[in-house]
Amino acid sequence: MVILLPIVAALSCFLWPGRSIWIGLINTFTIVLSVAGLSLQVVEQGAGRYAVGGWEAPLGIALVSDGLSLLMLMVTAVVGLAISVYSSCYFNQDKARHFWPLWMLLWAALNALFLSADIFNIYVTLELMGLAAVALVALAGGKNSLGAAMRYLLVSLLGSLFYLLGVVLLYHSFGTVDMSLLAQRLESSPAVWAAMGLMTSGLLLKTALFPLHFWLPPAHGNAPAPVSALLSALVVKASFYILLRLWLEVFPVASFEAGQLLGLLGAAAVLWGGVLALRQTRLKLMIAYSTVMQIGYLFLAFPLASIAGWKAAVYLLLSHALAKTAMFMAAGNILLYEGHDRIAELDRVAQRLPMTLGAFALAGVSLMGLPPSGGFIGKWLLLEAAIRSGQWWWGIVLIAGGLLTGAYVFKVIGFAFTQSNLPHESRAVPIGMEWAALFMAMLAIGLGFIAPWILSIMDTGSPFGVATR
Protein backbone atom coordinates (compact mmCIF):
# COMPACT_ATOMS: atom_id res chain seq x y z
CA MET A 1 0.00 0.00 0.00
CA VAL A 2 2.61 2.45 1.17
CA ILE A 3 4.68 1.71 -1.88
CA LEU A 4 1.96 1.41 -4.44
CA LEU A 5 0.26 4.67 -3.67
CA PRO A 6 3.09 6.89 -4.79
CA ILE A 7 3.71 4.80 -7.87
CA VAL A 8 0.09 5.18 -8.82
CA ALA A 9 0.42 8.85 -8.09
CA ALA A 10 3.51 9.09 -10.23
CA LEU A 11 1.77 7.43 -13.16
CA SER A 12 -1.28 9.57 -12.78
CA CYS A 13 0.90 12.63 -12.66
CA PHE A 14 2.42 11.53 -15.93
CA LEU A 15 -1.03 11.09 -17.38
CA TRP A 16 -2.58 14.36 -16.26
CA PRO A 17 0.32 16.75 -15.94
CA GLY A 18 -2.04 19.69 -15.60
CA ARG A 19 -3.53 18.54 -12.37
CA SER A 20 -0.35 16.99 -11.05
CA ILE A 21 -0.21 19.34 -8.08
CA TRP A 22 -3.57 18.28 -6.77
CA ILE A 23 -2.98 14.62 -7.40
CA GLY A 24 0.36 14.97 -5.67
CA LEU A 25 -1.09 16.68 -2.63
CA ILE A 26 -3.97 14.27 -2.28
CA ASN A 27 -1.64 11.33 -2.58
CA THR A 28 0.68 12.86 -0.06
CA PHE A 29 -2.04 12.95 2.49
CA THR A 30 -3.19 9.43 1.74
CA ILE A 31 0.36 8.17 2.00
CA VAL A 32 0.83 9.90 5.31
CA LEU A 33 -2.39 8.33 6.53
CA SER A 34 -1.38 4.86 5.40
CA VAL A 35 2.03 5.22 7.03
CA ALA A 36 0.28 6.26 10.20
CA GLY A 37 -1.93 3.18 9.94
CA LEU A 38 1.04 0.94 9.38
CA SER A 39 2.88 2.44 12.29
CA LEU A 40 -0.12 1.91 14.55
CA GLN A 41 -0.23 -1.69 13.45
CA VAL A 42 3.46 -2.20 14.03
CA VAL A 43 3.46 -0.48 17.39
CA GLU A 44 0.62 -2.72 18.48
CA GLN A 45 1.65 -6.04 16.96
CA GLY A 46 5.39 -5.65 16.72
CA ALA A 47 7.44 -6.17 13.59
CA GLY A 48 5.55 -7.52 10.61
CA ARG A 49 6.65 -9.44 7.53
CA TYR A 50 4.68 -9.62 4.31
CA ALA A 51 5.50 -11.82 1.35
CA VAL A 52 4.47 -10.07 -1.80
CA GLY A 53 2.49 -12.44 -3.99
CA GLY A 54 2.83 -15.21 -1.46
CA TRP A 55 6.35 -16.13 -2.46
CA GLU A 56 8.65 -16.51 0.50
CA ALA A 57 12.38 -15.97 0.45
CA PRO A 58 14.69 -16.86 -1.20
CA LEU A 59 12.56 -16.52 -4.29
CA GLY A 60 9.86 -13.98 -3.54
CA ILE A 61 10.02 -10.37 -2.54
CA ALA A 62 9.44 -9.91 1.18
CA LEU A 63 8.73 -6.75 3.05
CA VAL A 64 9.69 -6.31 6.65
CA SER A 65 8.63 -3.48 8.88
CA ASP A 66 10.34 -3.27 12.22
CA GLY A 67 10.96 -0.30 14.45
CA LEU A 68 13.82 1.10 12.44
CA SER A 69 12.18 0.91 9.05
CA LEU A 70 9.02 2.24 10.59
CA LEU A 71 10.81 5.30 11.88
CA MET A 72 12.37 5.85 8.49
CA LEU A 73 8.93 5.60 6.89
CA MET A 74 7.54 8.07 9.37
CA VAL A 75 10.23 10.64 8.86
CA THR A 76 9.89 10.19 5.12
CA ALA A 77 6.17 10.78 5.43
CA VAL A 78 6.59 13.90 7.56
CA VAL A 79 9.30 15.37 5.40
CA GLY A 80 7.36 14.38 2.31
CA LEU A 81 4.29 16.14 3.58
CA ALA A 82 6.18 19.33 4.26
CA ILE A 83 7.97 19.16 0.92
CA SER A 84 4.78 18.58 -0.97
CA VAL A 85 3.21 21.61 0.63
CA TYR A 86 6.33 23.64 0.06
CA SER A 87 6.84 22.71 -3.53
CA SER A 88 3.17 23.15 -4.33
CA CYS A 89 3.96 26.83 -3.84
CA TYR A 90 7.52 26.66 -5.12
CA PHE A 91 7.32 25.36 -8.66
CA ASN A 92 5.60 27.02 -11.53
CA GLN A 93 3.37 24.99 -13.79
CA ASP A 94 5.80 23.38 -16.24
CA LYS A 95 8.38 22.64 -13.57
CA ALA A 96 5.66 21.12 -11.45
CA ARG A 97 4.66 18.83 -14.30
CA HIS A 98 8.10 17.27 -14.12
CA PHE A 99 8.56 17.54 -10.41
CA TRP A 100 5.56 15.72 -9.07
CA PRO A 101 5.88 12.39 -10.90
CA LEU A 102 9.57 12.21 -10.13
CA TRP A 103 9.00 13.09 -6.50
CA MET A 104 6.28 10.48 -6.16
CA LEU A 105 8.57 7.94 -7.80
CA LEU A 106 11.30 8.86 -5.40
CA TRP A 107 8.96 8.52 -2.49
CA ALA A 108 7.87 5.09 -3.68
CA ALA A 109 11.48 4.02 -4.00
CA LEU A 110 12.26 5.25 -0.53
CA ASN A 111 9.34 3.48 1.08
CA ALA A 112 10.16 0.29 -0.76
CA LEU A 113 13.77 0.55 0.25
CA PHE A 114 12.96 1.01 3.91
CA LEU A 115 10.57 -1.91 3.86
CA SER A 116 12.34 -4.40 1.69
CA ALA A 117 13.86 -7.37 3.41
CA ASP A 118 16.37 -8.61 0.87
CA ILE A 119 19.48 -7.00 -0.45
CA PHE A 120 18.73 -7.37 -4.12
CA ASN A 121 15.42 -5.67 -3.73
CA ILE A 122 17.29 -2.95 -1.98
CA TYR A 123 19.57 -2.69 -4.99
CA VAL A 124 16.66 -2.14 -7.30
CA THR A 125 15.03 0.46 -5.11
CA LEU A 126 18.37 2.13 -4.59
CA GLU A 127 18.84 2.43 -8.31
CA LEU A 128 15.31 3.71 -8.76
CA MET A 129 15.83 6.26 -6.04
CA GLY A 130 19.11 7.37 -7.51
CA LEU A 131 17.66 7.89 -10.96
CA ALA A 132 14.71 9.85 -9.62
CA ALA A 133 17.01 11.97 -7.51
CA VAL A 134 19.29 12.71 -10.45
CA ALA A 135 16.34 13.73 -12.55
CA LEU A 136 15.17 16.02 -9.78
CA VAL A 137 18.56 17.66 -9.52
CA ALA A 138 18.58 18.21 -13.26
CA LEU A 139 15.19 19.84 -12.90
CA ALA A 140 16.71 23.18 -12.09
CA GLY A 141 18.25 23.47 -15.56
CA GLY A 142 21.29 25.67 -15.81
CA LYS A 143 24.72 24.27 -16.48
CA ASN A 144 25.87 23.98 -12.89
CA SER A 145 22.97 21.88 -11.87
CA LEU A 146 23.17 19.76 -15.02
CA GLY A 147 26.82 19.06 -14.43
CA ALA A 148 26.08 18.28 -10.84
CA ALA A 149 23.31 15.94 -11.89
CA MET A 150 25.53 14.18 -14.39
CA ARG A 151 28.21 13.66 -11.84
CA TYR A 152 25.69 12.52 -9.31
CA LEU A 153 24.30 10.02 -11.76
CA LEU A 154 27.67 8.52 -12.54
CA VAL A 155 28.51 8.29 -8.88
CA SER A 156 25.29 6.62 -7.94
CA LEU A 157 25.60 4.15 -10.79
CA LEU A 158 29.11 3.33 -9.75
CA GLY A 159 28.12 2.89 -6.17
CA SER A 160 25.19 0.71 -6.90
CA LEU A 161 27.21 -1.45 -9.25
CA PHE A 162 29.69 -2.11 -6.50
CA TYR A 163 26.84 -2.90 -4.25
CA LEU A 164 25.37 -5.24 -6.81
CA LEU A 165 28.65 -7.07 -7.17
CA GLY A 166 28.64 -7.56 -3.44
CA VAL A 167 25.13 -8.91 -3.60
CA VAL A 168 26.16 -11.31 -6.29
CA LEU A 169 29.02 -12.66 -4.23
CA LEU A 170 26.81 -13.10 -1.22
CA TYR A 171 24.17 -14.87 -3.20
CA HIS A 172 26.81 -17.02 -4.73
CA SER A 173 28.11 -18.19 -1.42
CA PHE A 174 24.85 -18.53 0.52
CA GLY A 175 22.16 -18.86 -2.08
CA THR A 176 19.91 -16.25 -0.57
CA VAL A 177 19.49 -12.51 -0.56
CA ASP A 178 17.17 -12.32 2.40
CA MET A 179 18.80 -10.45 5.21
CA SER A 180 17.65 -12.52 8.13
CA LEU A 181 18.50 -15.76 6.33
CA LEU A 182 21.88 -14.36 5.42
CA ALA A 183 22.41 -13.38 8.99
CA GLN A 184 21.76 -16.96 10.00
CA ARG A 185 23.83 -18.66 7.33
CA LEU A 186 26.69 -16.24 7.21
CA GLU A 187 30.11 -17.45 8.17
CA SER A 188 33.38 -15.75 7.58
CA SER A 189 34.89 -16.48 4.17
CA PRO A 190 36.91 -14.57 1.57
CA ALA A 191 33.82 -14.10 -0.55
CA VAL A 192 32.07 -12.48 2.41
CA TRP A 193 34.97 -10.17 3.01
CA ALA A 194 35.09 -9.14 -0.61
CA ALA A 195 31.32 -8.66 -0.67
CA MET A 196 31.44 -6.64 2.48
CA GLY A 197 34.20 -4.48 1.13
CA LEU A 198 32.42 -3.92 -2.14
CA MET A 199 29.02 -3.16 -0.67
CA THR A 200 30.38 -0.93 2.06
CA SER A 201 32.48 1.13 -0.25
CA GLY A 202 29.68 1.41 -2.75
CA LEU A 203 27.31 2.62 -0.13
CA LEU A 204 29.86 4.98 1.36
CA LEU A 205 30.18 6.52 -2.06
CA LYS A 206 26.44 6.98 -2.24
CA THR A 207 26.29 8.29 1.31
CA ALA A 208 28.98 10.81 0.44
CA LEU A 209 31.11 10.08 3.44
CA PHE A 210 34.33 12.03 3.47
CA PRO A 211 36.48 11.75 1.32
CA LEU A 212 33.89 10.60 -1.18
CA HIS A 213 31.61 13.61 -0.67
CA PHE A 214 32.77 15.47 -3.77
CA TRP A 215 29.50 15.02 -5.62
CA LEU A 216 27.22 16.10 -2.82
CA PRO A 217 27.79 19.85 -2.41
CA PRO A 218 27.28 20.73 -6.06
CA ALA A 219 24.30 18.46 -6.38
CA HIS A 220 22.60 19.76 -3.22
CA GLY A 221 23.74 23.28 -3.72
CA ASN A 222 22.39 23.65 -7.23
CA ALA A 223 19.15 21.71 -7.04
CA PRO A 224 15.88 23.55 -6.44
CA ALA A 225 15.25 24.13 -2.75
CA PRO A 226 12.73 21.37 -2.11
CA VAL A 227 14.85 18.93 -4.04
CA SER A 228 17.96 19.69 -2.08
CA ALA A 229 15.89 19.31 1.03
CA LEU A 230 14.81 15.90 -0.18
CA LEU A 231 18.30 14.80 -1.06
CA SER A 232 19.84 15.89 2.21
CA ALA A 233 17.01 14.73 4.35
CA LEU A 234 16.13 11.38 2.84
CA VAL A 235 18.12 10.17 -0.13
CA VAL A 236 21.49 10.25 1.54
CA LYS A 237 19.99 8.72 4.63
CA ALA A 238 18.61 5.80 2.64
CA SER A 239 22.00 4.45 1.78
CA PHE A 240 23.14 5.04 5.33
CA TYR A 241 20.17 3.03 6.44
CA ILE A 242 21.22 0.13 4.26
CA LEU A 243 24.75 0.35 5.56
CA LEU A 244 23.48 0.27 9.12
CA ARG A 245 21.35 -2.78 8.41
CA LEU A 246 24.14 -4.59 6.63
CA TRP A 247 26.71 -3.94 9.29
CA LEU A 248 24.61 -4.60 12.31
CA GLU A 249 22.37 -7.35 10.95
CA VAL A 250 24.10 -9.15 8.14
CA PHE A 251 27.78 -8.71 8.92
CA PRO A 252 27.98 -9.00 12.69
CA VAL A 253 31.41 -10.39 11.93
CA ALA A 254 32.63 -6.89 11.19
CA SER A 255 35.67 -6.27 13.26
CA PHE A 256 36.52 -3.55 15.72
CA GLU A 257 39.12 -2.03 13.43
CA ALA A 258 36.62 -1.73 10.61
CA GLY A 259 34.30 0.12 12.96
CA GLN A 260 37.13 2.36 14.03
CA LEU A 261 37.93 3.05 10.39
CA LEU A 262 34.39 4.16 9.64
CA GLY A 263 34.34 6.22 12.80
CA LEU A 264 37.60 7.84 11.80
CA LEU A 265 36.23 8.75 8.40
CA GLY A 266 33.14 10.08 10.15
CA ALA A 267 35.24 12.24 12.43
CA ALA A 268 37.23 13.51 9.48
CA ALA A 269 33.97 14.29 7.71
CA VAL A 270 32.71 16.20 10.73
CA LEU A 271 35.74 18.43 10.94
CA TRP A 272 36.26 18.79 7.20
CA GLY A 273 32.64 19.50 6.49
CA GLY A 274 32.42 21.92 9.36
CA VAL A 275 35.43 23.94 8.34
CA LEU A 276 34.41 24.02 4.70
CA ALA A 277 30.89 25.03 5.62
CA LEU A 278 32.43 27.87 7.55
CA ARG A 279 34.40 28.84 4.46
CA GLN A 280 31.42 28.97 2.15
CA THR A 281 30.06 32.28 0.99
CA ARG A 282 26.83 30.91 -0.47
CA LEU A 283 24.11 29.83 1.85
CA LYS A 284 23.00 26.67 0.08
CA LEU A 285 26.55 25.43 -0.38
CA MET A 286 27.12 26.02 3.30
CA ILE A 287 24.11 23.93 4.14
CA ALA A 288 25.26 21.23 1.76
CA TYR A 289 28.62 21.04 3.48
CA SER A 290 26.89 20.91 6.80
CA THR A 291 25.14 17.83 5.43
CA VAL A 292 28.53 16.30 4.75
CA MET A 293 29.39 17.06 8.34
CA GLN A 294 26.21 15.61 9.76
CA ILE A 295 26.76 12.42 7.81
CA GLY A 296 30.06 12.22 9.60
CA TYR A 297 28.15 12.29 12.89
CA LEU A 298 26.09 9.34 11.75
CA PHE A 299 29.17 7.28 11.04
CA LEU A 300 30.44 7.81 14.55
CA ALA A 301 27.83 5.24 15.47
CA PHE A 302 29.81 2.36 13.98
CA PRO A 303 32.65 2.28 16.48
CA LEU A 304 30.06 2.70 19.20
CA ALA A 305 27.70 0.14 17.76
CA SER A 306 26.33 -0.74 21.13
CA ILE A 307 22.57 -0.30 21.51
CA ALA A 308 22.97 3.33 22.49
CA GLY A 309 25.35 3.86 19.61
CA TRP A 310 23.09 2.97 16.74
CA LYS A 311 20.06 4.41 18.44
CA ALA A 312 21.89 7.68 18.83
CA ALA A 313 22.84 7.58 15.17
CA VAL A 314 19.27 6.95 14.14
CA TYR A 315 18.10 9.73 16.40
CA LEU A 316 20.61 12.10 14.89
CA LEU A 317 19.47 10.91 11.48
CA LEU A 318 15.85 11.74 12.23
CA SER A 319 16.52 15.15 13.70
CA HIS A 320 18.94 15.99 10.95
CA ALA A 321 16.40 15.00 8.35
CA LEU A 322 13.86 17.38 9.82
CA ALA A 323 16.27 20.18 10.59
CA LYS A 324 17.99 20.03 7.25
CA THR A 325 14.70 20.09 5.42
CA ALA A 326 13.78 23.19 7.34
CA MET A 327 17.12 24.75 6.61
CA PHE A 328 17.01 24.18 2.87
CA MET A 329 13.46 25.44 2.79
CA ALA A 330 14.50 28.57 4.65
CA ALA A 331 17.41 28.97 2.27
CA GLY A 332 14.99 28.59 -0.60
CA ASN A 333 12.79 31.31 0.86
CA ILE A 334 15.71 33.64 1.30
CA LEU A 335 16.93 32.90 -2.20
CA LEU A 336 13.51 33.62 -3.56
CA TYR A 337 13.21 36.77 -1.50
CA GLU A 338 16.58 38.33 -2.01
CA GLY A 339 17.34 36.90 -5.43
CA HIS A 340 20.74 35.69 -4.21
CA ASP A 341 22.06 33.68 -1.30
CA ARG A 342 25.39 35.32 -0.61
CA ILE A 343 25.71 35.14 3.13
CA ALA A 344 27.48 38.44 3.55
CA GLU A 345 24.58 40.31 2.01
CA LEU A 346 21.73 38.71 3.88
CA ASP A 347 20.72 41.96 5.48
CA ARG A 348 17.37 42.70 7.01
CA VAL A 349 16.15 39.16 6.61
CA ALA A 350 15.44 39.12 10.32
CA GLN A 351 13.09 42.02 9.81
CA ARG A 352 11.48 40.96 6.58
CA LEU A 353 11.26 37.19 6.85
CA PRO A 354 11.04 36.58 10.59
CA MET A 355 9.45 33.17 10.22
CA THR A 356 12.02 31.97 7.75
CA LEU A 357 14.88 33.16 9.85
CA GLY A 358 13.23 31.65 12.90
CA ALA A 359 13.03 28.36 11.06
CA PHE A 360 16.65 28.63 10.10
CA ALA A 361 17.67 29.43 13.65
CA LEU A 362 15.67 26.61 15.19
CA ALA A 363 17.02 24.15 12.66
CA GLY A 364 20.48 25.45 13.42
CA VAL A 365 19.90 24.88 17.11
CA SER A 366 18.98 21.31 16.39
CA LEU A 367 22.03 20.82 14.20
CA MET A 368 24.27 22.32 16.85
CA GLY A 369 22.79 19.87 19.27
CA LEU A 370 21.84 22.51 21.79
CA PRO A 371 19.05 21.56 24.11
CA PRO A 372 16.16 21.28 23.76
CA SER A 373 16.19 19.62 20.37
CA GLY A 374 16.33 16.28 18.65
CA GLY A 375 19.94 16.94 17.84
CA PHE A 376 20.70 17.32 21.51
CA ILE A 377 19.17 13.98 22.38
CA GLY A 378 21.09 12.20 19.66
CA LYS A 379 24.29 13.90 20.65
CA TRP A 380 23.70 13.16 24.30
CA LEU A 381 23.14 9.47 23.58
CA LEU A 382 26.19 9.33 21.37
CA LEU A 383 28.38 11.10 23.90
CA GLU A 384 27.10 8.85 26.62
CA ALA A 385 27.88 5.80 24.53
CA ALA A 386 31.32 7.20 23.76
CA ILE A 387 32.19 7.80 27.39
CA ARG A 388 30.60 4.59 28.59
CA SER A 389 32.63 2.56 26.11
CA GLY A 390 35.73 4.52 27.06
CA GLN A 391 36.22 5.91 23.55
CA TRP A 392 36.10 9.52 24.67
CA TRP A 393 37.86 10.83 21.57
CA TRP A 394 34.62 10.49 19.59
CA GLY A 395 33.06 12.67 22.24
CA ILE A 396 35.62 15.37 21.57
CA VAL A 397 34.88 15.17 17.85
CA LEU A 398 31.20 15.58 18.63
CA ILE A 399 31.74 18.67 20.75
CA ALA A 400 34.09 20.21 18.22
CA GLY A 401 31.54 19.56 15.52
CA GLY A 402 28.88 21.25 17.61
CA LEU A 403 31.06 24.32 18.00
CA LEU A 404 31.78 24.44 14.28
CA THR A 405 28.09 24.17 13.52
CA GLY A 406 27.39 26.96 15.94
CA ALA A 407 30.01 29.04 14.20
CA TYR A 408 28.53 28.80 10.74
CA VAL A 409 24.90 28.92 11.77
CA PHE A 410 25.36 32.08 13.79
CA LYS A 411 27.51 33.56 11.06
CA VAL A 412 24.38 33.54 8.97
CA ILE A 413 22.06 34.70 11.72
CA GLY A 414 24.36 37.48 12.78
CA PHE A 415 24.45 38.83 9.24
CA ALA A 416 20.72 38.53 9.00
CA PHE A 417 20.25 40.86 11.96
CA THR A 418 22.22 43.75 10.61
CA GLN A 419 20.51 46.58 8.80
CA SER A 420 21.76 47.35 5.34
CA ASN A 421 21.27 50.62 3.56
CA LEU A 422 21.79 49.24 0.07
CA PRO A 423 18.35 48.70 -1.41
CA HIS A 424 17.50 45.46 -3.13
CA GLU A 425 14.35 44.46 -4.91
CA SER A 426 12.63 41.59 -3.24
CA ARG A 427 9.90 39.16 -4.23
CA ALA A 428 7.17 38.11 -1.87
CA VAL A 429 7.46 34.65 -0.39
CA PRO A 430 4.31 32.48 -0.35
CA ILE A 431 3.14 32.03 3.20
CA GLY A 432 2.87 28.27 2.70
CA MET A 433 6.61 28.00 2.15
CA GLU A 434 7.39 29.97 5.27
CA TRP A 435 5.04 27.87 7.33
CA ALA A 436 6.41 24.63 5.95
CA ALA A 437 9.92 25.65 6.93
CA LEU A 438 8.90 26.78 10.39
CA PHE A 439 6.84 23.65 10.88
CA MET A 440 9.76 21.38 10.11
CA ALA A 441 12.08 23.37 12.33
CA MET A 442 9.63 23.13 15.19
CA LEU A 443 9.37 19.40 14.65
CA ALA A 444 13.14 19.16 14.81
CA ILE A 445 13.03 20.96 18.15
CA GLY A 446 10.02 19.01 19.36
CA LEU A 447 11.88 15.79 18.64
CA GLY A 448 13.80 16.66 21.77
CA PHE A 449 10.76 16.10 23.93
CA ILE A 450 9.48 12.76 22.71
CA ALA A 451 12.69 10.80 23.08
CA PRO A 452 11.24 7.98 25.21
CA TRP A 453 8.53 7.34 22.64
CA ILE A 454 10.90 7.31 19.68
CA LEU A 455 13.36 5.06 21.47
CA SER A 456 10.61 2.63 22.37
CA ILE A 457 9.59 2.51 18.71
CA MET A 458 13.17 1.73 17.78
CA ASP A 459 12.99 -1.26 20.04
CA THR A 460 9.85 -2.71 18.50
CA GLY A 461 10.78 -5.87 16.65
CA SER A 462 14.22 -5.33 18.19
CA PRO A 463 16.26 -4.88 15.00
CA PHE A 464 19.83 -6.03 15.50
CA GLY A 465 18.73 -7.78 18.66
CA VAL A 466 21.29 -10.43 17.82
CA ALA A 467 23.80 -8.19 16.18
CA THR A 468 24.39 -5.75 18.98
CA ARG A 469 27.60 -6.46 20.73
Binding site: Y123, A138, L165, V168, Y171
Partner: protein
Protein backbone atom coordinates in the same frame (compact mmCIF):
# COMPACT_ATOMS: atom_id res chain seq x y z
CA UNK B 1 39.59 -24.12 -14.33
CA UNK B 2 35.83 -24.54 -14.72
CA UNK B 3 33.79 -22.52 -17.18
CA UNK B 4 32.05 -20.77 -14.31
CA UNK B 5 35.37 -19.57 -13.05
CA UNK B 6 36.44 -18.32 -16.44
CA UNK B 7 33.19 -16.47 -16.96
CA UNK B 8 33.30 -14.84 -13.62
CA UNK B 9 36.93 -13.88 -14.14
CA UNK B 10 35.98 -12.28 -17.44
CA UNK B 11 33.15 -10.51 -15.70
CA UNK B 12 35.47 -9.13 -13.07
CA UNK B 13 37.83 -8.10 -15.85
CA UNK B 14 35.11 -6.22 -17.65
CA UNK B 15 34.18 -4.54 -14.38
CA UNK B 16 37.69 -3.31 -13.82
CA UNK B 17 38.01 -2.23 -17.43
CA UNK B 18 34.92 -0.11 -17.05
CA UNK B 19 36.20 1.33 -13.84
CA UNK B 20 39.47 2.23 -15.51
CA UNK B 21 37.66 3.93 -18.34
CA UNK B 22 35.45 5.78 -15.95
CA UNK B 23 38.50 7.20 -14.26
CA UNK B 24 40.50 8.06 -17.31
CA UNK B 25 38.24 9.57 -19.94
CA UNK B 26 36.72 12.98 -19.34
CA UNK B 27 34.26 12.57 -22.18
CA UNK B 28 30.83 11.83 -20.78
CA UNK B 29 29.79 9.35 -23.42
CA UNK B 30 32.84 7.27 -22.63
CA UNK B 31 32.04 7.46 -18.96
CA UNK B 32 28.51 6.26 -19.59
CA UNK B 33 29.75 3.44 -21.72
CA UNK B 34 32.23 2.56 -19.06
CA UNK B 35 29.47 2.27 -16.52
CA UNK B 36 27.53 0.07 -18.88
CA UNK B 37 30.52 -2.17 -19.35
CA UNK B 38 30.90 -2.45 -15.61
CA UNK B 39 27.26 -3.38 -15.39
CA UNK B 40 27.51 -6.08 -17.98
CA UNK B 41 30.56 -7.40 -16.18
CA UNK B 42 28.53 -7.81 -13.06
CA UNK B 43 25.73 -9.49 -14.95
CA UNK B 44 28.17 -11.85 -16.52
CA UNK B 45 29.43 -12.88 -13.15
CA UNK B 46 25.90 -13.33 -11.97
CA UNK B 47 24.88 -15.51 -14.84
CA UNK B 48 28.06 -17.48 -14.59
CA UNK B 49 27.48 -18.20 -10.94
CA UNK B 50 23.92 -19.26 -11.66
CA UNK B 51 25.22 -22.47 -13.09
CA UNK B 52 26.39 -23.60 -9.72
CA UNK B 53 23.74 -26.12 -8.77
CA UNK B 54 24.08 -29.81 -8.02
CA UNK B 55 21.60 -30.79 -10.73
CA UNK B 56 22.46 -29.33 -14.10
CA UNK B 57 19.35 -27.18 -13.92
CA UNK B 58 20.56 -23.59 -13.46
CA UNK B 59 19.21 -21.57 -10.63
CA UNK B 60 16.44 -19.21 -11.87
CA UNK B 61 16.88 -16.48 -9.32
CA UNK B 62 20.07 -14.97 -10.78
CA UNK B 63 18.49 -14.76 -14.16
CA UNK B 64 15.59 -12.87 -12.69
CA UNK B 65 18.08 -10.60 -11.06
CA UNK B 66 19.98 -10.09 -14.26
CA UNK B 67 16.83 -9.18 -16.13
CA UNK B 68 15.88 -6.70 -13.48
CA UNK B 69 19.40 -5.36 -13.49
CA UNK B 70 19.39 -4.95 -17.23
CA UNK B 71 16.12 -3.06 -17.09
CA UNK B 72 17.54 -0.76 -14.51
CA UNK B 73 20.74 -0.32 -16.47
CA UNK B 74 18.86 0.54 -19.63
CA UNK B 75 16.77 3.16 -17.93
CA UNK B 76 19.81 4.57 -16.23
CA UNK B 77 21.67 4.77 -19.52
CA UNK B 78 18.73 6.50 -21.13
CA UNK B 79 18.65 9.10 -18.41
CA UNK B 80 22.40 9.51 -18.56
CA UNK B 81 22.32 10.09 -22.30
CA UNK B 82 19.60 12.70 -21.99
CA UNK B 83 21.55 14.44 -19.28
CA UNK B 84 24.68 14.32 -21.35
CA UNK B 85 22.95 15.97 -24.24
CA UNK B 86 21.58 18.67 -21.95
CA UNK B 87 24.99 19.22 -20.45
CA UNK B 88 26.72 19.55 -23.78
CA UNK B 89 23.97 21.88 -24.90
CA UNK B 90 24.44 24.00 -21.82
CA UNK B 91 28.21 24.03 -21.52
CA UNK B 92 29.27 23.50 -25.10
CA UNK B 93 31.44 20.47 -24.50
CA UNK B 94 30.27 17.08 -23.35
CA UNK B 95 32.47 17.02 -20.27
CA UNK B 96 32.08 17.74 -16.64
CA UNK B 97 33.18 21.31 -15.76
CA UNK B 98 35.51 20.37 -12.94
CA UNK B 99 37.62 18.01 -15.00
CA UNK B 100 40.12 20.56 -16.27
Amino acid sequence: MSAVFVYSLVGIGLFNLGLYALIIYPHLLRKILAVNIMGSGVFLVLVALAGRTASGVPDPVPHAMVITGIVVAVSATALALVLMLRVSAATGQPELPEEK
